[in-house]
C-alpha cells in the first residue's frame, strides 16, 4: 500500500531580520519502510522529529527533496488528484470543516468535491451518524462545536468518500478520556470491518498500545524503530522489576542477577533481566516471601528510554 525508499525532506529557512542567513533543516533523512494493506500503523516521535513532514509527503502536500514514495501505486505529488480520491487525511491541528456552517453542510460540500454517488453518500453518512453519535449536533455550526464533537465531524469528513487508506496526524490531540476512547473504537472498527489501512501519528501512547499492531519511531528525521510493540518492549525494555513483600523490614537483598531499586518497609523492588522464576527461587533462598509481583515496563517508560538515547 505504501512504499517509501530513502525519503528525505530538507527545508531551507531564512533567519534573522536584516542579515537573512540561510539555514538548512533536514526534517526527514533517508527513511525507508513499507506498509501492507489492512495495517494499523502508529508513527511516533518527539516534537520536531519529522512525523508531520512524512505524512505530508505521503499525502502529496509536500514534494520530497529526495528518495521515492509510492502510495497505492501512485507518486503522491505527481498524481495528487487521483490519490486524493483514494485516501482520507485528517490533521488534528487544522480545521477542514466549514467553520460558519452547520456540520451537515460540510458533508454535503465534500460529497460534491469527492463526487460521491448519492446512494453511497446516504449510506455512509447514516453509518457515521450512528457510530460517532453525530445526531445531537449535526445541525450546529462548526464553530460552536466542542473539540471532541468537531474531531468526530472531521473524522467523518475524512471517511465519507470511502478511502482505502487513512492518514491521521494527531487525531486525539486535546481530547478527554471518553472522547479518545470513542475515536479509538471507531478506528479499530473501520480497520477491522472495512479493511481500511490506517497510519496515525500521536503523542498519546495509549493510542499506540490499544490500536497499533506495528510501530514506527522517528527521531531527528531518522527512523529508529520499525516493528511490533512486544518486540519493542523486549529490545528496549528487557529489564523487568520483581516486587517482593517480605515478613518485615530488612536490609536490601543481595541476590545474583538483580539490583534493588527501592525499599519501602517490608517491600523491595528488584530490577532484573532474564527468568523471573529463577530469580524468585534465589530470593526465596535468602528470605521468606509473603507476596510477589512482576512488573513489565510500560510503553511510556520504553519510549522515554528511546528518546533519551
Amino acid at each position: 500500500m505504501i512504499e517509501v525508499e530513502n525519503l528525505s525532506k530538507r527545508f531551507v529557512v531564512r533567519r534573522g531580520r536584516f542579515r537573512r542567513e540561510r539555514h538548512v533543516v533536514d526534517a526527514v533523512k533517508e527513511i525507508s519502510f513499507g506498509v501492507e494493506r489492512g495495517e494499523l500503523l502508529g508513527y511516533l516521535g518527539p516534537n520536531g522529529a519529522g512525523k508531520s513532514t512524512t505524512i505530508k509527503m505521503l499525502t502529496g502536500i509536500l514534494v520530497p527533496s529526495g528518495g521515492r514514495v509510492s502510495v497505492g501505486g501512485l507518486d503522491p505529488s505527481r498524481k495528487r488528484i487521483e490519490l486524493a480520491r483514494r485516501i482520507g487525511a485528517m490533521f488534528g491541528q487544522r480545521v477542514q470543516l466549514w467553520w460558519d456552517l452547520p456540520l451537515l453542510d460540510s458533508f454535503q460540500l465534500l460529497r460534491h468535491i469527492y463526487k460521491v454517488p448519492p446512494g453511497r453518500y446516504r449510506e455512509s453518512l447514516a453509518r457515521f451518524r450512528e457510530v460517532l453519535e453525530l445526531d445531537a449536533f449535526i445541525h450546529t455550526p462548526v464553530r460552536q462545536l466542542s473539540l471532541g464533537q468537531r474531531i468526530r465531524g472531521e473524522l467523518t469528513a475524512a471517511m465519507l468518500h470511502g478511502p482505502e487508506l487513512l492518514f491521521l496526524d494527531e487525531p486525539t490531540i486535546g481530547l478527554d478520556v471518553v472522547a479518545k476512547q470513542r475515536v479509538r473504537d471507531f478506528l479499530v472498527e473501520i480497520n477491522r470491518d472495512d479493511g481500511v489501512t490506517v497510519m496515525l501519528t500521536t503523542h498519546d501512547l495509549g493510542d499506540i498500545e490499544r490500536l497499533c499492531n506495528r510501530l514506527l519511531v522517528i527521531d531527528h528525521g531518522s527512523l529508529i524503530w520499525d516493528g511490533g510493540i512486544p518486540e519493542l518492549k523486549e529490545r528496549y525494555g528487557g529489564e523487568r522489576v520483581l516486587v517482593v513483600d517480605l515478613e518485615g523490614p530488612s536490609e536490601p537483598l543481595q541476590v545474583d542477577g538483580a539490583t534493588v531499586e527501592r525499599v519501602e518497609g517490608p517491600r523491595q523492588w528488584l530490577r532484573f533481566r532474564g527468568s523471573a522464576s529463577e530469580l524468585t527461587a534465589r530470593v526465596a533462598a535468602a528470605a521468606r516471601i509473603v507476596d510477589l509481583q512482576v512488573q513489565e515496563p510500560d510503553i511510556e517508560e520504553i519510549v522515554r528510554r528511546i528518546y533519551m538515547r
Binding site: K56, I61, F91, L101, I113, Y114, P141
Partner: protein, 267 residues
C-alpha cells in the same frame, strides 16, 4: 469544465451562506463599500465635467473607457479579490487542506471566498457606462457588439491571470500580498485613462509586459470607431481573446510550477 463550474457554485454558495451568518456585518460591508464607490463616482464625474477633452478624447469617450475598465476590474475583484489574503493561507499552512482534496488547487482557491460587498463597484461602473452611452451616439454594428461581448470576459481573464501570477509569488516569499496589489491596482488606474497620455516607455512596458492595453483600450477604440492616435495596427482591436488565452495559460503554468514549491508550515 461544467463540473468545475458546478463545484465553484457549491463552494461560493457555502461562502455566501457563511457571510450571511453575520448579517449585521454583511449589511454594513455592502453599505460601506457602496458609499465609497458612490463618492468615487462623484469625483470621477466632477473631473469629467471640468475637462472637456483629454487629447483627442471627448468626456463621454473617456467615461466609456473608464466604465469598461471599471466594470471588468470590479468583476475580477468580485471573483478573485480574496487572492489578497492568499499569502496568509500559505503562511499558516492551511493550503494543506486544498492539496488533499481531489480538485484543482486553483479552482478551490478561487472558490474559497466571494467578496459580495464588491458588487457595489460593479454597480458604480455600470452607472458610469450608462452616463457614457447617454452622451455617445455609437452606431451598433454586429461587429462592435461582438467585440464588446468578447472583450469584457477576456478582460476579466487577463486581469485575473495577472493576479494569479502575483499570488504565486507567495509560494516563495510567503508574503506576496503587497507585491500583487501594486501591480494590479496600479494597472487599473492606467487602463482607466487614455493610453497616449502616458509616456512611450510606460506604454511599451504595459503593452508588452502586462498586456493591460487589450483589457479595454483597443476594444474601446473599435467600438467608438476612433482611429488609433498612435497609429498602431488595427488588428490589435480584435486580439483580446487571444491575449486572454495566452495570459490564462501563463498563469496556469506558473501556478502549477509554484504549487510544487509549497512548503506548508510545521505542525
Amino acid at each position: 469544465m461544467v463540473d468545475a463550474v458546478f463545484v465553484w457554485r457549491k463552494l461560493v454558495g457555502a461562502q455566501v451562506r457563511s457571510q450571511l451568518q453575520y448579517r449585521m456585518s454583511f449589511t454594513l460591508d455592502v453599505f460601506g463599500s457602496f458609499w465609497i464607490s458612490f463618492i468615487d463616482f462623484l469625483v470621477v464625474l466632477t473631473i469629467f465635467h471640468n475637462i472637456s477633452r483629454l487629447n483627442s478624447w471627448t468626456v463621454h469617450e473617456v467615461a466609456f473607457l473608464y466604465a469598461l475598465s471599471s466594470i471588468t476590474f470590479a468583476f475580477t475583484d468580485l471573483l478573485i479579490g480574496h487572492l489578497d489574503q492568499f499569502p496568509q493561507k500559505i503562511r499558516d499552512g492551511n493550503f494543506d487542506i486544498v492539496l488533499v482534496r481531489p480538485r484543482g488547487t486553483l479552482l478551490q482557491i478561487v472558490a474559497s471566498d466571494f467578496a459580495s460587498r464588491r458588487l457595489a463597484r460593479v454597480l458604480q461602473g455600470t452607472i458610469v457606462l450608462v452616463y457614457a452611452l447617454s452622451g455617445l451616439s455609437i452606431h451598433w454594428t454586429a461587429g462592435r457588439v461582438a467585440v464588446l461581448l468578447v472583450s469584457l470576459p477576456s478582460a476579466v481573464v487577463i486581469f485575473g491571470s495577472v493576479w494569479v501570477v502575483g499570488a504565486c509569488v507567495a509560494f516563495w516569499t510567503t508574503d506576496g500580498g503587497e507585491f500583487t496589489n501594486a501591480f494590479t491596482y496600479g494597472g487599473t488606474t492606467m487602463a482607466q485613462y487614455p493610453f497616449d497620455v502616458y509616456g512611450t516607455w510606460l506604454r511599451r512596458l504595459l503593452g508588452y509586459f502586462v498586456p493591460l492595453a487589450f483589457v479595454c483600450y483597443f476594444p474601446a477604440l473599435y467600438v467608438l470607431g476612433k482611429p488609433d492616435p498612435l497609429g498602431l495596427p488595427r488588428a490589435l482591436d480584435f486580439l483580446s481573446p487571444a491575449v486572454a488565452a495566452a495570459a490564462a495559460c501563463v498563469a496556469g503554468l506558473t501556478w502549477r510550477f509554484a504549487v510544487r514549491h509549497y512548503r506548508s508550515a510545521g505542525g
